[in-house]
């Protein structure tokens, strides 16, 4: 087995591949893990070649030391993370293990196991990020590691380093059609098969089911995408785009919650009118059990349900990008009958917000009629010149009172909570809805992107005969927020515009266009690649004409397609013939083939002159042509006179010997 001795070249490729694959993890790991990983790789590359005797004698004590080191590594990981299970711990152990395995690699088996560990390292990266750059980087690593395998198997050193790399790339490229078929047709099932470690979804931002002053303005700092929407018809006006999320009923004076501990008795009743709006929502993983639909959703997609207060919910947390087809009506009437739940929509904590209560009673006394009270309150808000800002002064005692009467500066959650308190104090049932408002239209893809900074809070008041009516106090104080989106309502500093770009109109437009392009690509990527699950698969199959396909059929088609592509690659690979370095020879072979068909095949050892003579004697009619071609061929091939090549090509192309049927 000496031919498989791992020389430095083989180990080098392996080590580089593994190091590159673990590289993105380094920032996520305790510093000592990447350091020991790299030192192990470096030691493997250095010691055996500098101290070969030491290396070959390592069987005894050094082996024991290695085992001790490995064990202490595991212990150290345990002490760092406090556990040996979970995503991060798994990665830490894998990085460490890959280092040790490469360090001890000495045989063919070791080499392959190390390579496979490298492939595993690649896959773990995808549990953190699945962006296009990551995918491209990982593709590069796969090519490197495959090159490593080729280096290992090229025992006769027939290929240069570049050619090995090229071969590896060729293999990957040839694998891509198969990959696509497998990706599209492999029957998908919904995970998880077993538990997913809890730490798998940390760091996801999004709307919660409670608000406190400042919780939404925090979201406004984030421009990550919450969901994307493709409308079947026109995109409705921005001011109509209220994406309904959790509904908050209960407050302790500061924090609003859904109050799920008290079940609602209200029976959902809804009437729709007007034109339906059909659209697809692709939601980013949120680890939450709700969806966002345009107010008001009329039809439930699969695996979702409505709460009595018309929140669209899913049974399982959304852990991966998913798409839902929804239909909404912008004209609706919601629960216009009295119900016991209305009582809950009036509850306010005792002895809070004295100033607000005062204003409420004033309004109630003045207008009596609930509808008028609402209108008056909104008018009051408008009159008082409230400022819409992300950075209101921090409240000292009573947040609502201070907002309404002192600072008059706030973000949507301030408006919504204050308005809700005011209404409830005035005896009108009110609840808060949180969700998103608006979104950015991407003209390139003609779809809507809703980002975290589009998060919004508004209220619903219950009026007799009209039911729950959406009332957005923010839209009164800062109409621009609702009509044109947050980008315009806020000073530019809010959105991450590169410095100076806002001063130049064209540059700004260009930048925006670029951002839109990037987003479109990302959108398609997430729509069709990352979000490709059982639902997308069904949708895709439906689009290409396979309605309601089951997994058996899918598997059948998968194998048929795989078979076809494998056959195609086989034909491609096997039809490749050795490149003839001499084009003249290639053309002459064609000539010989034509002559063979005409009945005078050339013997393999027959020289061109002899052959031409034989043709001349057996086929008088072809004498001149054969002579001409032979002369040209001789000139090119044996006199190295290459400028006649085109003539030869033309002569052979036009050469069509008639077949003579011998008696």
């Amino acid at each position: 087995m000496s031919k498989h001795k791992l020389n430095i070249n083989k180990i080098m490729w392996l080590a580089i591949g593994v190091a590159l694959a673990s590289f993105p993890h380094w920032q996520r790991l305790p510093l000592w893990i990447p350091i020991s990983h790299i030192s192990l790789l470096a030691a493997r590359l250095y010691i055996p070649y500098q101290f070969p005797t030491l290396w070959s004698q390592r069987k005894g004590t050094i082996n024991i030391i290695r085992l001790i080191l490995m064990f202490s590594g595991v212990v150290a990981v345990y002490s760092s993370y406090g556990s040996l299970a979970g995503r991060d711990v798994g990665v830490a152990l894998l990085v460490l293990l890959a280092g040790f395995k490469i360090f001890e690699s000495d045989s063919k088996r070791d080499f392959y196991i190390s390579s496979y560990l490298g492939y595993f390292l690649v896959i773990t990266n995808f549990f953190y990020t699945q962006t296009i750059p990551t995918a491209s980087y990982m593709m590069f690593i796969i090519i490197i590691m495959t090159t490593g395998l080729i280096v290992f198997n090229d025992t006769e050193r027939q290929l240069t380093t570049f050619k090995r790399f090229k071969l590896s790339t060729t293999l990957i490229i040839q694998a891509i059609p198969l990959l696509l078929v497998l990706f599209i047709l492999f029957p998908r099932i919904n995970g998880p098969l077993w538990g997913i470690p809890k730490d798998a979804f940390t760091g996801i931002t999004g709307i919660d089911d409670e608000i406190s002053p400042g919780s939404i303005s925090n979201l406004a700092q984030s421009n990550s995408v919450a969901f994307r929407v493709t409308f079947e018809d026109e995109i409705p006006k921005k001011s109509k785009l209220y994406w309904r999320g959790p509904i908050l009923w209960q407050t302790d004076g500061l924090v609003w919650t859904t109050g799920e501990d008290k079940t609602l008795q209200e029976v959902s009743k809804i009437e729709f009118s007007g034109k339906p709006i059909r659209y697809d929502v692709t939601i980013e993983p949120s680890n939450k059990k709700w969806l966002f639909g345009l107010e008001m959703v009329s039809k439930l997609p699969d695996k979702t349900y409505f709460t009595p207060d018309f929140q669209l919910k899913t049974h399982k947390p959304i852990l991966n990008r998913q798409a839902f087809s929804l239909t909404s009506y912008s004209n609706y009437r919601l629960n216009n009958e009295k119900s016991p739940d209305l009582e809950r929509a009036l509850v306010l904590p005792e002895s809070y917000h004295p100033k607000t209560r005062e204003l409420a009673s004033k309004l109630r006394d003045e207008y009596k009629e609930p509808a008028l009270i609402v209108k008056a309150a909104l008018n009051w808000l408008k009159r008082e010149n409230f400022i819409y800002t992300l950075t209101p002064p921090t409240p000292t005692q009573d947040a609502i009172d201070e907002f309404l009467f002192d600072s008059k500066q706030g973000f949507c959650e301030h408006f919504a909570t204050a308005f809700a308190v005011l209404m409830r104090a005035a005896g009108i049932p009110t609840r808060i809805v949180i969700g998103y408002q608006g979104g950015e239209i991407n003209p390139l893809g003609n779809y809507l992107i809703v980002r975290q900074y589009d998060a919004h809070a508004w209220t619903e008041v219950w009026l007799e005969n009209r039911g729950w009516v959406r009332t957005d106090p923010t839209s009164i104080a800062s109409p621009i927020r609702v009509n044109e989106g947050i980008n315009n309502a806020m000073p530019d500093a809010l959105i991450n515009i590169p410095l100076g770009l806002d001063k130049n109109e064209t540059a700004y437009r260009l930048w925006k266009r670029m951002r839109n392009t990037v987003d479109m690509v990302n959108y398609q990527w997430s729509q069709w690649v990352l979000g490709y699950g059982p639902e997308r698969q069904k949708l895709f199959m439906k689009n290409i004409g396979f309605d309601s396909i089951n997994w058996k059929e899918l598997t059948l088609y998968l194998f048929i397609c795989l078979g076809i592509i494998v056959a195609a690659i086989t034909i491609y690979i096997f039809r490749k013939t050795p490149k003839t370095t001499e084009p003249a020879k290639k053309y002459y072979d064609i000539f010989c083939k034509k002559m063979a068909k005409a009945g005078v095949p050339r013997k393999s050892y027959e020289g061109p002159v002899d052959y031409a003579q034989r043709i001349s004697s057996t086929r008088q009619d072809l004498k001149d042509e054969a002579q001409y071609i032979t002369n040209l061929y001789i000139l090119i091939r044996y006199c190295s006179n290459n400028n006649k090549l085109l003539k030869l090509k033309a002569a052979i192309k036009s050469f069509t010997p008639p077949k003579i049927i011998s008696n």
């Binding site: 001499e582 020879k585 013997k603 393999s604 050892y605 027959e606 020289g607 061109p608 002159v609 002899d610 001789i634 091939r637 044996y638 006199c639 190295s640």
Partner: protein, 317 residues
């Protein structure tokens, strides 16, 4: 710039070659290929071995060749009692000068006709063969150069004839070509029977080439173009002879050079300035006939000569 000049020189020479061929063909009837091969051999600066049964005109051919080339020639009839000194020369004590005077042997000439070389003892053979290889002779520890050009045209009877000392393989290698004449065909034979005595005709033969022209021709051989394709072909031939296992031993690199030189000369005689695969095939039987031998098992089964077998086994690349 001197393209036209070059080509005129070339035409003159090839014309002379044609003259030479004609002159020889006049005497040796119906053996044009053998004559051309013999000429090619000499132009490629190689020694020639003519092998055939007695009476087919070996000696006549050798004579005619020497005469047509217009060179000074000596004939040595090899016999079993011929001694090396008979070929190389001998020092004789001169009483007048009290010194040893060197008497040049017949080897000091342009062309030697070594008749029936395999009748001499190996010792005598090797004396001549050494001269062929080195173009000089060492007599009594004194080295003497031979004149230029220097050729040996040797004739020998087939080795299976009785009373012969077959030349060892290593010595056969000194000959660039070994040609066979074979019996003349019907018409040639008839003409031969009707015509004059060959020996008389031989006296009338005029030199068709001068020594100067011959040297010029020899120089031109090295100008014949050899393309990579030809070298590939030659290498395949050599490779096959070494690896196929059909031959006792493969062709040596020296044999490869010999084939190439002979093919170049053949191309020149056929009046083209580049070597074709046909040129190689034309000279191959003569050049390697005495160098390549089937192993014992193959000898019985193969109807072909080793060289022909080699040609037919290797496709032209």
């Amino acid at each position: 710039m001197n393209m036209s000049e070059k080509s005129t020189v070339e035409t003159i020479n090839t014309l002379n070659i044609e003259n030479a061929v004609d002159a020889i063909s006049h005497i040796i009837l119906g053996k044009e290929k053998a004559i051309r091969l013999a000429l090619a051999c000499l132009i490629a600066k190689g020694h020639l071995l003519i092998e055939d049964t007695p009476g087919v005109g070996k000696t006549t051919l050798a004579h005619t060749l020497a005469k047509v080339l217009g060179l000074h020639y000596q004939r040595i009839q090899f016999t079993s009692d011929l001694l090396p000194a008979d070929i190389l020369g001998v020092s004789v004590y001169n009483r007048d000068t009290s010194k040893f005077d060197f008497h040049q042997g017949p080897v000091f000439t342009n062309v030697i006709l070594a008749d029936e070389i395999n009748r001499a003892t190996p010792r005598t053979q090797s004396a001549l063969l050494e001269a062929m290889a080195e173009y000089q002779v060492t007599i009594e520890s004194e080295t003497r150069d031979l004149p230029e050009p220097f050729f040996v045209i040797a004739t020998q009877n087939p080795t299976n004839q009785v009373g012969t000392f077959p030349l060892p393989e290593s010595q056969l290698d000194r000959f660039l070509m070994r040609i066979e004449l074979g019996y003349p065909d019907n018409s040639a034979e008839r003409e031969l029977l009707k015509g004059k005595n060959r020996k008389e005709l031989l006296d009338d033969v005029q030199a068709a080439l001068s020594a100067k022209e011959l040297i010029q021709l020899q120089k031109q051989v090295s100008n014949v173009h050899v393309s990579d394709a030809i070298l590939d072909y030659l290498q395949h031939l050599l490779g096959f002879s070494r690896t196929s296992g059909n031959y006792v031993s493969g062709l040596s690199p020296r044999a490869g050079i010999a084939i190439l030189n002979a093919a170049k000369a053949w191309a020149l005689i056929s009046s083209h300035q580049h070597v074709l695969p046909e040129d190689i095939q034309a000279v191959l039987p003569s050049v390697i006939g005495h160098r390549l031998q089937f192993i014992y098992e193959v000898t019985d089964k193969q109807a072909l000569q080793p060289a022909e077998h080699l040609i037919q086994s290797v496709p032209i690349p």
